[in-house]
């Protein structure tokens, strides 16, 4: 199972900040994972694919083509707003 984390507005859209999802064998990049999510939930998929969204895989910055595998922690980050 991969552990998916959604922050900020993405958490609201996903209906929760964390979900566990098993990755199909042919899903090996973040892009492909977003496509799987989009098939289920178009609004969330579209939000995850926005250019302003960044990704962290196992606590390291990754790009949309970045490799993922079952067991990874994959975080989706909308634009930040601290301070």
């Amino acid at each position: 199972m991969a552990r998916l984390l959604f922050f900020g507005k993405l958490g609201d859209l996903a209906g929760g900040r964390m979900r566990e999802q098993s990755l199909p064998k042919d899903v090996v990049t973040i892009d492909q994972l977003i496509a799987v999510i989009t098939a289920d939930d178009a609004a969330l998929g579209e939000a995850l694919a926005a250019p302003s969204v960044r990704f962290i895989v196992n606590e390291k910055m990754a790009d949309a083509g970045g490799a993922i595998s079952d067991g990874d922690e994959i975080a989706f980050l909308p634009p930040v707003s601290g301070g």
Binding site: F7, A75, S81, G83
Partner: protein, 151 residues
């Protein structure tokens, strides 16, 4: 030092403790950010903040290392709230001690720009009739870009 907390803090007490530890510094600069009660014309009833536990802290520690490489500072304290906040409550507090004021001012300014535009916090503003996840304003990005132009 970085502290992220879901409970209220007392900036006066924090500053006193920081200042007492900075016995050899010639300058201590602090910045306190508070929750605004208004967003344009609308009344703000509160903020909700979240962070990426572990990752947010690690990246801020890296930023502190950048500060130490760039300015001759003695000590840095960053306190940032998460969770539910009400108007008037402290949300962020930055203290820097250094031998001289210029370095303390600049380092504190740099840290605040980092916290506003790069640190992993997400902030939802809850108003009378709606709520909105806030994103940095163009002005915030311009402020943060000043430090790149310097390099």
């Amino acid at each position: 030092m970085i502290r992220i907390s879901d409970t209220a803090f007392d900036p006066g007490a924090e500053l006193t403790a920081f200042e007492q530890n900075a016995a050899n510094a010639g300058a201590v600069v602090s910045f306190l950010g508070k929750v605004r009660g208004k967003a344009g014309q609308a009344d703000v009833s509160g903020l909700y903040l979240e962070h990426y536990a572990g990752v947010t802290e690690a990246m801020i520690v890296e930023c502190e290392r950048d500060v130490s490489a760039r300015w001759n500072v003695d000590d840095v304290l960053i306190i940032h709230r998460i969770g539910q906040l009400s108007p008037g409550e402290p949300i962020v507090f930055v203290c820097v001690s250094a031998a001289h004021r210029r370095e303390a001012f600049e380092a504190a300014d740099f840290l605040m720009d980092y916290l506003k535009t790069k640190a992993m916090f997400w902030k939802k503003e809850v108003r009378d009739n709606d709520e909105e996840w806030i994103e940095p304003r163009d002005e915030d990005y311009r402020d943060a870009a000043r430090w790149r132009e310097d390099e």
